[in-house]
Subunit: 348 residues, 2 copies
Amino acid sequence: RGDFLYGRGISDDKGTLASRLAAVRALKAVNGRLPARIKFLVEGDEEIGSPGFEDFVAEHRELLAADACLWEGSGVTWEGQAVLPLGVKGLLYCELRCRGTARDVHSSWATVVPNAAWRLTWALATLKDQDENILVKGFYDDVRPPTKAERQAVKAMPDEAEDFAKSLAIDNFVLGLKGRKYRSRHYLDPTCNIDGLTSGYQGPGSKTILPAQASAKLDFRLVPDQDPHDIERKLRKHLDKHGFEDIEIVTFGAEHPARTGLDEEWVRVVRETLKDVYGQDPVIVPTMAGTGPMYPVVKMLGVPTADCGVGNPDSRIHAPNENIREQDYRTGIKAAAAVIDAFGRWRP
Amino acid sequence: RGDFLYGRGISDDKGTLASRLAAVRALKAVNGRLPARIKFLVEGDEEIGSPGFEDFVAEHRELLAADACLWEGSGVTWEGQAVLPLGVKGLLYCELRCRGTARDVHSSWATVVPNAAWRLTWALATLKDQDENILVKGFYDDVRPPTKAERQAVKAMPDEAEDFAKSLAIDNFVLGLKGRKYRSRHYLDPTCNIDGLTSGYQGPGSKTILPAQASAKLDFRLVPDQDPHDIERKLRKHLDKHGFEDIEIVTFGAEHPARTGLDEEWVRVVRETLKDVYGQDPVIVPTMAGTGPMYPVVKMLGVPTADCGVGNPDSRIHAPNENIREQDYRTGIKAAAAVIDAFGRWRP
């Protein structure tokens, strides 16, 4: 339709995969051969936290050995700059379950009967304060400070906060953050997020009960070098220390953060190639705010990553009308071919 | 079935009403006339907070004028003592609604986007601390201290805490309360209870979202002379003062507490009558932990109340298999007739 192609997963990330297959075919057609050996690593569980991926990588190190990796699924800005992400955040996703009494009771008993919803509320309030400080002891211990180059790259990224605030109908972001500080926090800081709360009566109007159970879904986005399993242990200790031994932690996902250094030669190669293809320096994103299974590649295999792709700022990934622009797809093929070619010259 | 009669509402409170109608009929049959003029005040909205009752009473003071009132719906202990309640708690039932963003967003934005569930959690945590102190400024200002007689009556009530704890499968009540202190808190103290929590994702497993909205159902049980409308104003002030101006309070119910004094002559009359009929002194309950529309009678009409009835400790009111014992029903008729007779002699 018009300049756009629509389709489920066309931006995240079938379009980018297709552009790379097309690039391989084009290189073979023009040159008769590829300038280097190419491996495609396709992992189908990214959206559910890649639960088996670390084990798979550990068992197949030789099969997966490589000099460099072109990561999946980035795109371009409306201004036509390529976006070059170098990292992802990690994730700990868990549910806190508080069980009080064997059954809900009449709320007149709030005088003496423990209320699971209150206990959950108090427990949650010990995890993060209103100034957004995460209070779990040792939570920030392993945070690797961003390098000067990473901080400068984040500073140089385009400012999209105002449009985003408008689309959310909010006047301010947390702590009134704007500009460089807003981006720095968004791309470089870990989080503690409540994804859901459930307890007691949720229907219309009133029902006077004291709920037997209460639960909260939580996710922590982690930055290098935080370890989701270590954070889970610290969360347990924190709850115990604050008198919430009875609150159960059920973990649904744990992924390590990862980041390729801006000083990697591979990053320089991709950056210069994208500058050639797109006509201007790409936007360097030292780390994305989202999560992906990059840690097994970067840390376990020791393979540096860089990223480019065919998405656009309104690709609506995971949403209805997911789309890419035909022009971005065509340029994406050229970019992938140029990166493969540059890789061949860099590592002949 | 056996010694029991079953039926929806048979204990709360058709059984008591029927026993009193039978008593009136019996007195007429035996004596040819009643010893005094009797009025029945039947109000059908008690279970939804009697929203129109105060206005009705204000408009019909003369019609409802009386020297004393035999309140609805008490019963007997397993040991066969009559239970004589003299008061009820009031209630403020409301919902706190926190709206953050125009829509849920991906949880990677927890870095900078305000989270409604966090704001609600923080707001709730300012309302009551883990030592069960209600922190709304001025909340306790109007609490009328119980009299010595009221405290002694609560002290003398039977101890049912252990059985109750067993049925709830809990080891301890709040603050480890037992015995006299447990009863004193249950019958004489106001509460702040979370009836329900709702926000974001509530399904199985994980979904990484930052919820746009969060809400909590709350009820406050109030004791004389707290005013539910005053408590609502104080709650609003409290939220504003703590930076939660954006959290809306939607009120679903407001009832005043009420209590007839133990020193009322009418209480003495009913107490002595019940002692005669049941063969032992009744259990005096200066105030019940639940709520009912007693305030318009006691405070607006100036009519002292006392209570007796046909329920038993396992009448299962509001639950399946609501029941009364046939024997309690028969004695209840005798008790009602004796109280009417005593009233006639007291106010001939």
